[in-house]
Symmetry: C2
Subunit: 189 residues, 2 copies
């Protein structure tokens, strides 16, 4: 049985968990990975999806749970892949994104991270951060997810993948986790 002091990070993505664990360790917050079969609603709103999943995870685990959902919103593609970034990555992948972008000159995109945190006492909170940037001309660097095609602004034209561990200093996920860390330090520790 989980203890109340435990904070679980519910995901099936080990890459994501490792990144979250590393970032939160800078704030002396420890998280444990848990794989749960969660019901995911279909919505164009990442916050709604993440909050709903966090509540479901919290109910199933009866413990404090963090969920992270992120999405890449490409302006020329009207916000595609957005809330369906995970499905799109598994199907057409970065090759598909690069191919689609050949038709457009505006390559601006926003990478959004939503952290949803839920406690068994029915408190649920979300912490959101956006990083603006653009889609690279080609797949560049070794990384997971969309990291090899997203160039954040002020990165000297390097993709998240090319930035390597430097990515975690200012990524959308880092900024959302930072907001969460400040909140939980002030309210729960």
């Amino acid at each position: 049985m989980p203890e109340l002091s435990d904070i679980y990070f519910a995901t099936t993505n080990t890459n994501k968990f490792n990144e979250v664990k590393d970032i939160l360790s800078n704030y002396d917050i420890k998280v444990k990975m848990v794989e749960l079969d969660l019901l995911e609603i279909q919505s164009n709103d990442l916050e709604v999806i993440a909050m709903d999943k966090a509540k479901d995870a919290c109910r199933k685990l009866n413990a404090r749970v963090i969920i992270e959902d992120d999405g890449l919103f490409i302006a020329s593609l009207k916000g595609f892949p957005g809330p369906y970034s995970s499905f799109v990555f598994k199907t057409i992948g970065n090759e598909g994104i690069i191919q689609l972008m050949k038709s457009y000159s505006d390559r601006t995109a926003t990478f959004r991270s939503v952290i949803a945190y839920c406690e068994p006492n029915n408190i649920t909170l979300t912490f959101v951060s956006n990083v603006n940037g653009e889609i690279s001309a080609e797949i560049s660097g070794k990384g997971w997810g969309y990291d090899p095609v997203f160039i954040p602004n002020d990165s000297a034209q390097l993709t998240y993948a090319e930035l390597g561990s430097k990515k975690n200093e200012s990524s959308h996920r880092k900024l959302a986790l930072e907001k969460f860390a400040h909140w939980i330090k002030n309210h729960r520790y």
Copy 2:
């Protein structure tokens, strides 16, 4: 208040409703369009999505409700856009599909229709049909949704859009509605 004899077709898509109404009129089944704000779960299984939406609609309306969900599954794109066909159409559209397919020689695809029917007595049924075909080399014909890029097998290389009203004689939606019509005629009329 709706009467029990009424059958509602819940959708926000007038094109889809008109097609369904025309097809079902061949079986002397009348349907009324209703627009509802339905919760849609995120799943890779169209049947699960449609069934869940039908139950939600049935609860909200307290009447007999039909939902139709369809999806275009492109083999080379690992089933993309599949259950997210609606979102993908609204974002990258048929132009995006044609662009993505430039990288592949295998253009085979399946168009799947799921009819979910729900009664206030908690009976829910689904009727599924698939039509195999391929993605056209370019957008061809005037039609809604993916009709201008889907060429069903045995159509002399015409897209659904080019087939015009002939589409409704053998489309994935027609075949699923036919199954539903036979069932309801035998069990409810």
